[in-house]
């Protein structure tokens, strides 16, 4: 059994609550309450929740992009909870992030080549520009991206291409852990299938530990081994995907699963409510 690559215990994240010069201090907003989550190598873990569940904050916290108020985060056995930015830097190559909106996550004023090559050179993954260029071309070919994309700006490409470039940028760094933050939300079903298959192949080849954030349980079912269900900053249920979907224990999980419309005729679906339903 492979050991845990990433282990976060009881983490709490709060925003706000600064003291102002002339006035009362504002109350901090708790985004996460005592969340514990672990990811092993070659494992894909799903983090599912609706808006306000704290799933994005959890992802950012795991990558130390957001400070945790309490709790601990360990990566490859090392405690990184309060590591300074300087000490985090060499670790960053090993823990990467793929974004939901590639239009927003690619600098609109950088050409794709620069966006792809700079991180490689920064982390020493490529020895020089020529080396970086050949690695970039290789992965573009593998991802069915025309090499011409390297000379373009992000806004000149299609959504599907941008999404694959976002994945390529991360893949080229050969990380150990990848956080995929709602990367297929808002994509067409066919583009979504392409991106997810790409991700699955990549994960298998690199033996990645992956945390997959999504609100779409069907997607989670398709690619995750285990899943954490988040609601209002707390984990309400967790377990192997197969188990959770076969028999969800928490009523919120049941409501979430039940709310998904499947592409099959189910005359009862609309009428069916679970205890967690608020309005009629």
């Amino acid at each position: 059994m492979s050991e845990e690559l990433l282990l976060a215990r009881d983490i709490e994240v709060a925003f706000g609550g600064k003291r102002r010069w002339l006035g009362r201090s504002s109350q901090p907003v708790r985004a996460l309450h005592g969340v514990t989550i672990s990811v092993r190598r070659s494992e894909t873990v799903g983090i599912v929740g609706e808006s306000g569940s704290g799933k994005t904050t959890l992802g950012r916290a795991l990558l130390r992009l957001v400070d945790v108020a309490s709790g601990s985060i360990a990566f490859a056995g090392q405690d990184i909870t309060r590591l300074s930015e300087g000490r985090m830097r060499p670790l960053r190559r090993r823990m990467q992030l793929i974004f939901q909106d590639p239009m927003a996550s690619l600098n609109p004023r950088h050409v794709i080549r620069r966006i792809i090559v700079e991180p490689m050179l920064f982390h020493g993954v490529a020895k020089n520009h020529a080396d970086a260029e050949s690695k970039a071309r290789a992965i573009f070919t593998r991802f069915s991206l025309p090499h011409m994309c390297l000379d373009r700006y992000p806004h000149e490409l299609s959504g599907g291409q941008r999404q694959r470039i976002g994945i390529a940028r991360v893949a080229l760094l050969a990380p150990d852990f990848v956080l995929a933050d709602e990367i297929v939300s808002g994509l067409d079903v066919s583009t979504q299938a392409l991106a997810l298959n790409l991700l699955k192949d990549l994960s298998r080849d690199l033996g990645l530990a992956m945390a997959f954030i999504s609100h779409d349980l069907s997607v989670i079912r398709a690619i995750c081994d285990r899943v954490y269900v988040l609601r209002s900053g707390r984990v309400v249920e967790e377990g192997a995907c197969a188990d959770i979907f076969a028999g969800p224990k928490h009523e919120y999980t049941r409501a979430l699963i039940d709310a998904i419309p499947l592409p099959r005729i189910d005359p009862d679906w609309l009428r069916r409510t679970t205890a967690a339903d608020v309005a009629a």
């Binding site: 079903v189 066919s190 299938a193 392409l194 298959n197 779409d216 069907s218 419309p261 005729i265």
Partner: protein
């Protein structure tokens, strides 16, 4: 066609800038009281059809042929004033994004009663009474407070309910629902879909439901029209289309959808040669 509230035939449209085809010979019908799904991926033209019906096509899009018969009359050939009246009173829109569809600077009451005061000639008091009744119909618990509120004070689900109330305000014969649940959480989506379906059967309204989600179509549409690149690929009763898809594109689309009840099915990308074939057919 008897019983059909809307009948579109041979509708074609191009982009004014480069003559690129946006719609090609689109045909579809909506019977009275029916919910017809208009499905397709992005760029398929489904929103364009909705806008053509409502008469709100962007300037850059030009209709080149076809007719849109609403209760037997062609909306495209109608004089503008009559069309405005007809569409204003009898056809309504449930828009996609509840965040931006409401004017952030106006209270809900004003926005909800606009149509009532314009087309029914009601005064503020009369319109307010109807507005309260509408909010009740969409199960908003504190209608007085909501009427006084500004949009940013309401949640996404609440805003969408307000928009649905506005759509049903004038008791229209046809509603164009343009991806009304895409921006919502999945549990909220179910509540909204249920609401639309219940209101629709209560009022006897016909609905054109634009969406990219085949699951949603399966649950609330009686019939479906599937589009690709501005053309109708397949259409029929929902059950038939889902269980016995005729066109390879329909089958491929169904194979690409992930399903939590069948983890072995789904996530199969649409074969490129199929896309290429469809594209070349479109170009011909």
């Amino acid at each position: 066609m008897s019983g059909a509230i809307l009948s579109i035939s041979r509708l074609s449209a191009v982009s004014d800038r480069d003559q690129a085809p946006i719609l090609h010979e689109v045909a579809l019908t909506v019977e009275r009281g029916e919910t017809r799904g208009l499905v397709g991926e992005s760029g398929a033209g489904k929103s364009t059809i909705g806008k053509a019906i409502l008469g709100i096509l962007p300037r850059a899009v030009r209709v080149t042929s076809g007719e849109v018969l609403f209760q037997g009359e062609d909306l495209l050939k109608m004089p503008a004033e009559r069309r405005r009246r007809l569409v204003g009173e009898q056809i309504a829109l449930i828009p996609q994004d509840p965040m931006t569809a409401l004017n952030p600077g106006r209270r809900i009451e004003g926005q909800l009663t606009d149509g009532l005061r314009l087309w029914r000639g009601l005064d503020a008091r009369g319109a307010r009474k109807i507005a309260l009744k509408l909010l009740d119909e969409v199960h908003i618990r504190d209608p007085e407070r909501v009427l006084r509120s500004f949009p940013h004070q309401l949640s996404g689900g609440m805003r969408q309910r307000v928009l649905i109330a506005a759509a049903f305000a004038l008791d229209p014969k046809l509603i164009v629902a343009d991806e009304p649940t895409t921006a919502l959480d999945v549990t909220v989506q179910k509540q909204i879909l249920r609401l639309i379906r219940n209101l629709q059967s209560a009022h006897g309204t016909s609905v054109i439901f634009v969406t990219h989600d085949l699951g949603v179509v399966a649950q609330i549409c009686d019939s479906v029209t599937l589009l690709f690149s501005g053309r109708v690929v397949e259409e029929g009763r929902t059950g038939d289309l889902l269980q016995r898809p005729q066109h390879p594109y329909t089958r491929a689309l169904l194979d690409a959808c992930p399903r939590y009840d069948r983890p072995d099915v789904g996530l199969k990308p649409i074969p490129e040669d199929l896309i290429a074939r469809l594209r070349s057919e479109a170009a011909a």
